[in-house]
């Protein structure tokens, strides 16, 4: 074997070690779930909650949808990663209480690869909701 060939083989081996070695060091992906804030907003119609819920979810995740028709139950997922899977998701529930409404936030994340924990995700969505809600 020539010296050049040996060098090439060595480089290939080092590359494989770097690539596969990083696999064993990686922590297993775990599901993280957070029961976020639940609060009553007085003197506001549930439609205001729905508007804020959709806007908040879309500002942090994407494609927020209301389940069924006029249920007040909103759901959104994060952008799919390279394997076409979403590693973050959140739900915002709006429930009418007379002239007020109850809103709850629940989040889930797969960590890693999600850089945000479920709690951090819920904090972002709640802040976005509050900035759009009265």
């Amino acid at each position: 074997m020539t010296r050049i060939s040996r060098c090439r083989v060595a480089l290939l081996a080092v590359g494989l070690i770097v690539a596969f070695g990083s696999l064993s060091a990686r922590a297993p992906a775990a599901l993280d779930m957070n029961v976020g804030v639940g609060k009553v907003v007085a003197n506001q119609p549930v439609s205001a909650c729905n508007n804020s819920a959709k806007a908040a979810l879309n500002s942090v995740l994407q494609d927020a949808v209301e389940l069924g028709g006029d249920t007040g139950e909103w759901l959104a997922f994060g952008a799919p990663d390279s394997a076409n899977g979403s590693t973050t998701a959140a739900a915002v529930h709006c429930y009418p209480l007379g002239g007020s409404y109850l809103v709850t936030f629940t989040c889930a994340a797969q960590v890693p690869p999600s850089p945000d924990s479920a709690a951090a995700l819920c904090t972002k969505i709640t802040a976005a909701f509050d900035s759009g809600a009265r």
Partner: protein, 221 residues
Amino acid sequence: MNVKRGLWLFAIAIFLGSQSQTAAVASVDLSTGIRYVSDSGTLSDCSAKAKAALETYLPGASESSPGSGEWSAMGQNVATGAASSGAAVRCYPLPKGYLVTFICAVQLPANPYPAHALCLNIAHKFYGGAITPLAAMPTATPVPTGCATTNLVGSWVSDNDPKLSFNMQLNGDLTDNEGVSGNWIIDGETVTLTYYGNHTLKLSPDGKHLSGPGYNLTRKC
């Protein structure tokens, strides 16, 4: 040496390694939309039922703060050692009765069933309804114990040098008492030890002794 060609080889190796990671990427599945309004009962009633319903499927349900009525629990995939399922049941008092919502999340494909299946069962456990058996969670492969004749897992001591011992692991690795590593393979009664070279040994019918040129070992079992 042609540096460019060498770097290409390095890049190809990195690429090959990275491709093997794609199969491990998973996604989060979230189920929401199940809610139930009871026109009787208190927040405490709801909480008691929420805890019981959650713990039917997930261990250790806890309330986010005492008296909040917000319950959650997580389930672990023992095979991966990480949480792969979770559920939240939130109770809220109404002037008459209470409102309860059910939200579930699972990590696919690590979890053997989808979030909706979990949530439907928890909700039905709470307020009544058909319960559908969920696929069993994978369990960890138990580490073999004793003097098995199908593997070498366990501790071995050299008959010639009692200071020399080996720990043989399930994955075929071995480590001696000084931390030097090697490998083992068994085919029938023939054992190949890769430890400062390859050594072919024979396993005794009782699984307790390995013998061959250079090494005679006895298993502690």
